[in-house]
């Protein structure tokens, strides 16, 4: 039984149809369709300027799309702001914008969604419940096997791999359904990349479906279920990873190979 059949049998979580983004006369994204199935890791690949980042920003409401419809669990959903996406259960980790350097790991993970005390101090003054946040983080890090000794230290003090692990852990903490990752291994060394990708793979076990932008073909082949290829703002192919090899993917990305979009 091929991976393609199992993926097709799964229920789609997130569907996007005809997503376009025009900047004046420039078409950054031209009627791209995307389907993310329950529990899969979907890779988005393409050269610089192919529209990968534009696509995920349009999906998460970080930019306003020109046209297109987004369905979540089969129902049409308005996602116009990053807040809408978060409410729907989509959590995004951007390449450079994941963590704030000079606040602690705890405060970073909860930034924007801090747990306040369950009394009038919390409700009226926004007084933080550090105990509860710390406890939740320790649980989370245990669950994901992230080893960080001192969660009170500023994020700046940690290595690239640890920082990425913390950023990814936020998707498990808050992303109820979908995690969108923008080049999670961009700045990491070989061993750290492997750690991060293992973590991405394990997000499935926590009920998340993953969309991931990457430039690393090895990561696509080793860790993803399906891959979609963008070129110059257009969707050129969607393949099961089991059906492609590295050369084919590179060919699709550069345009040396042409293919109709198919899953």
């Amino acid at each position: 039984m091929s991976l393609g059949n199992t993926a097709a049998a799964k229920r789609p979580v997130l569907e996007a149809q005809g997503i376009s983004k025009h900047y004046g006369g420039i078409v950054a994204l031209d009627k791209v369709d995307l389907t993310l199935n329950e529990g899969e890791v979907l890779a988005i690949v393409g050269d610089n300027g192919a529209g990968k980042s534009t696509l995920i920003k349009a999906l998460t409401g970080a930019i306003a799309k020109t046209t297109g419809v987004i369905r979540f669990d089969g129902a049409e959903t308005q996602i116009d702001t990053p807040g809408d996406a978060k409410t729907a259960g989509i959590e995004t980790v951007y390449q450079d914008l994941a963590l704030v350097n000079e606040i602690s790991i705890t405060k970073n993970v909860f930034l924007g969604r801090e747990i306040v005390r369950d009394d009038w101090l919390g409700r009226w003054l926004g007084v933080l419940d550090f105990k509860k946040m710390d406890a939740e983080i320790r649980d989370l890090f245990d669950k994901l096997d992230i080893r960080i000794a001192d969660i009170y230290r500023d994020a700046e003090a940690f290595s690239g791999g640890q920082r990425q692990a913390v950023a990814l852990s936020k998707t498990v903490m808050f992303g109820k359904r979908v995690a969108i990752l923008d080049e999670p291994t961009a700045a990491l060394g070989v061993r750290e990349s492997k750690m991060a990708m293992d973590l991405v793979r394990s997000l499935k076990d926590h009920g998340l479906s993953v969309i991931m932008i990457t430039h690393n073909m090895q990561h696509v082949l080793n860790y993803c279920d399906r891959v979609m290829v963008l070129r110059l703002g257009r969707l050129v192919a969607v393949r099961d990873v089991a059906d492609v090899d590295g050369d084919t993917l590179v060919g699709l990305i550069t345009g040396a190979k042409e293919a109709g979009a198919q899953a």
Binding site: I103, L111, L128, R147
Partner: protein
Amino acid sequence: MVDRNESDRLASESWLQRTVRKPEIGSFIVMVVIIIALFIASDWKAFNALGLKNNVAIIAQFGIIATGAAILMIAGEFDLSIGSMIGFAGMSMAMMLKWGLPFGMGEATPFAAFIITLAMTLSIGWFIGFVVVRSGLSSFIVTLAFLFLMRGVTEVSFRLINQSTQISGLPDYKENSWFANILGGEVFGWFYDAWYKLGQWLTAGTEWPARLPNESINYLALLNINRRLEQWVEGFDARFMWWLVISAVAWFIMSRTQLGNWIYATGDNKEAARANGVPVNAVKIGLFMFTAFCATMFAACQVFDTNTSDAAKGNLMELFAIAIAVVGGTLMTGGFGSILGVVFGAITVGLVSNAVFFIPSIDGAWFRVFLGGILLAAVFANERIRKRITGGI
């Protein structure tokens, strides 16, 4: 080989390392040095009953505006309009007290004058913040414009309505209005009462000559006893209390609340904060309003204390506020700083600016030389501390 994990590199720190990493440590050391130096140089006069009151008065003044300036700097913005805002608020309050409420609404009570002024300054603060976040221009330029603009408006209003750029001889509102009294009156009388009681107890049984020699007067001054052997000083200026309140609230917000977390994040990495759902623009606008509030409190304490106002009030105060924030360990680039550090910075700069009154042998202008030196020293110290924090890895 033992399996060595990444987290082992950051296992734990000693007490000393943790202390050295605190942003306020540099300003604390500078403050202690200044206090000791002033004790010696002023022959203890800077800390006798009246000396302490006068020093605390100027420290509190600086501290109030520096708290606003520092939190705004932590959020990554500047406000150069603080000094002009002080002048504007003082003008507005004194003018209403002298000439009545606007649009012929009758005589102004201190409370009405304060509230109407506060509404105006908060609106201006909101507008400054709005212009900064909407235009994306540097807050340095926008608030520089407001520095000129509001100083000009203050002076023009004085000339148009009052014919002169100062108001003096207002009635002493403190005597009849509780509200004027909590702004311009005296507080913590129990402290000076206790000090006097202690002085009486220490000097009990001493036979003083009818005409006290200078050494005895200096000695009694340290015990809050005047040359007629009565209680000398009754209490601190009310602004001391306001400084404590504002600092305590600011400390609480910055270290214990969601808003504090958002302020640090906004100044450190605005885009990351925004991506994580922090309402970055609202935070900044709110903080411009907070600096306007601090400037208004500064002006209100001044007006109700002295019952005067003039167009030059608050001149250069924006630069003092920023200097104190920097001496206190706040980074110009945002995202880093502490309220406790600002308290230390205010004490340091306040003492230095007052020192010339207690050391009569030196020229008053030395104050600026010292302040410049301390500012430079503080910046270098903070930079070293920062490198120690970040340079380890």
